[in-house]
Amino acid sequence: MTTYVLRRLMLMLPVAFLVTIGVFMLIHLSPGDPALILLGEDRTPQAIAQIHEQLGLDKPLYVQYFIWLGRIAHGDWGRSVTTHEPVAQAITERLPATLELGIVALVWSLLVAIPLGTIAAVRRGSLTDQVATGITVAGVSIPNFFIVIVLIFVLSVTLRLFPFGGYVPLTTDPWESLRHVLLPAIALGTAGAAINMRFTRSSMIEVLNHDYIRTARAKGASWRRVVFVHALKNALIPVVTIVGLQIGGIIEGAVVTETVFTWPGVGRLAVESIFNRDYTVIQGIVLLAAFSYMVANLLVDLVYGWLDPRISYA
């Protein structure tokens, strides 16, 4: 197992490098003097000169890159162009909100997807299966943000079930926190449920075709036992893969939902920053998003290896 882990890490390094280069280049892609971009409003000649000195903008590009990389590694992710707040701080302040939203959304998505996907697979071809497949197809075709909006409309406005938006930190008041996150989380999670359901279904169908299912039946196991004990454990192993990736993609998933609900998370910060031309913040968020996705990919591989006895007890 350890060689497996080490090998994956080794493969990840060059990619991580390239990712940092890509993020670094973001500022330099836009036309114009980066110093002007970074300074935003207060472009006094002294400030410009200072920035040039600080970031070494007169030095060759690759030197600048290493200076930048060094700072990132030390936790200095720059300052926001608009608020002058350290980027790292701006992000960490908003991260809990995004995480709460993302995780509750994922839990909801799985609560819907796994049972439905399992039933659809077991009763393949039946009405339930066709309805479930139809939902999946719709879920994949309908834009996420549209689902979000429609759900807001139905759940909040029409039925008055949940409060609209308004973030309450988990640490302040868990119950209120959950009450407020529920609507955006359901909206976000429903969109992802379609994909998870399709995946669970196909994984389950494949597992049910395996010989050991027949063996279990030959032992006198009921269908219930076969599905819940023998099949499910096998079928869910691949599902872990996409769940892991969805965790890694939390920031990405949250972008739209946070914008609609004016949820004070990292996703909304990203969108705002684009309009404010706040490049340092964007850099920071993109870097974080990319790295969490990469790390999630790696962890998913490891967890997969750990869950499947054929790999962990090789």
């Binding site: 395996h210 010989d211 050991y212 063996t215 030959a218 192993i237 006895p309 054929r310």
Partner: protein
């Protein structure tokens, strides 16, 4: 007359394919008494596995029993509900399958799987079932039983996995064990061991055994009686000795002839059966074997023979029913 343990009377099973239904099991009848061993021999697609699955009522989705009766311990299995059938499977009848690697669940430990029938049917708790599994492992000849029960199937060798399957099948002391090609996926040396094991278990526990195989040699060492199947039909049936010494059906005769002999002079060519297995969707008229038969006469092409007594066996062949005896298989 004592009741048979298992009785198949004119059983028919059909598989629905896109191009039409095929008769996988076509009017098959057989009987099995307690403690007896029966071999079912045939090529792939001859219907032997389907017969076994029909007995266990574990047919795939597209297949259905369309006729005949299957009686087990006097009860007509068609009368039983699925729950009642589940109660019989794993307790009174057990089945082991061809490929032990794919037939064992990869994510559960071996002891857990072997003890499962006890937990399902005898309401034994987990710890007791693992203990019983250790015992069973010893009985089937798996060394280091205590360590092995905690391991996963992929950590076992092919032979050990098949022993695990056998242990699983015998855990509740069934009256009938069906072994579907238990040795086909194994090395030749291991094959012999597994067959010895099955024979010993049959002798020691009196479990009636149906051994399904395409290999006549396997049957020779193990079974009291043998049933030869072709294209879903029984073509010959009798005691092993009779069938081997004087086969009364050209298919059996050809099978016996095709076995290479150790005492051959050395440069004799192999004698495979002419032609290839039949397309079940497009069977020939008359006798289903006639296109490949070295003894074919005109009648074979027109009319399908019934299964009738020929000497001490049952045979479905016009030629032997007419009294002709086939040459002895080794050409002497």
């Amino acid at each position: 007359m004592t009741a048979h343990l298992l009785e198949l009377e004119d059983v028919q099973t059909q598989i629905a394919l896109r191009r039409g239904a095929i008769r996988a099991v076509d009017h098959v009848s057989l009987t099995l008494d307690p403690g007896e061993t029966l071999g079912i021999v045939g090529e792939s697609g001859s219907g032997k596995s389907m017969t076994a699955l029909s007995i266990m009522r574990l047919l795939p989705r597209a297949a259905r029993i369309t006729g005949g009766r299957i009686r087990f311990k006097g009860r007509d299995l068609a009368d039983l509900s699925e729950d009642e059938m589940e109660a019989i499977r794993g307790t009174e009848m057990a089945m082991i399958f061809q490929d032990p690697m794919t037939s064992l669940n990869p994510v559960y430990r071996a002891g857990w799987q072997v003890g499962e029938p006890l937990r399902i049917h005898r309401h034994v708790d987990k710890r007791a079932s693992i203990a019983a599994a250790v015992d069973l492992f010893r009985k089937v000849g798996i060394p280091d039983a205590k360590t092995r029960v905690d391991q996963f199937p992929h950590q076992f060798s092919g032979g050990m996995r098949q022993r695990t399957m056998i242990a699983m099948g015998l855990s509740t002391g069934p009256s009938l064990l069906i072994a579907d090609e238990p040795t086909t996926a194994l090395d030749v040396t291991i094959q012999a061991q597994i067959l010895d094991l099955l024979r010993a278990l049959n002798r020691d526990y009196g479990t009636a055994t149906i051994l399904i195989t395409h290999n006549l040699g396997v049957v020779a060492g193990m079974c009291d009686r043998v049933l030869v199947m072709y294209a879903g039909r029984v073509v010959e049936q009798g005691t092993t000795e009779d069938v081997f010494v004087h086969p009364e059906h050209p298919y059996t005769w050809s099978l016996l002839r095709s076995i290479p002999r150790l005492d051959a002079t050395g440069h004799e060519p192999l004698r495979p059966i002419e032609g290839s297995p039949p397309d079940m969707g497009r069977l020939p008229a008359g006798c289903k074997f006639h296109p490949r038969c070295p003894f074919v006469i005109d009648r074979c092409r027109e009319e399908e023979p019934d299964l009738r007594e020929v000497r001490s066996q049952l045979s479905r062949c016009w030629v032997t029913q007419a009294g002709r005896s086939l040459d002895s298989p080794d050409g002497r």
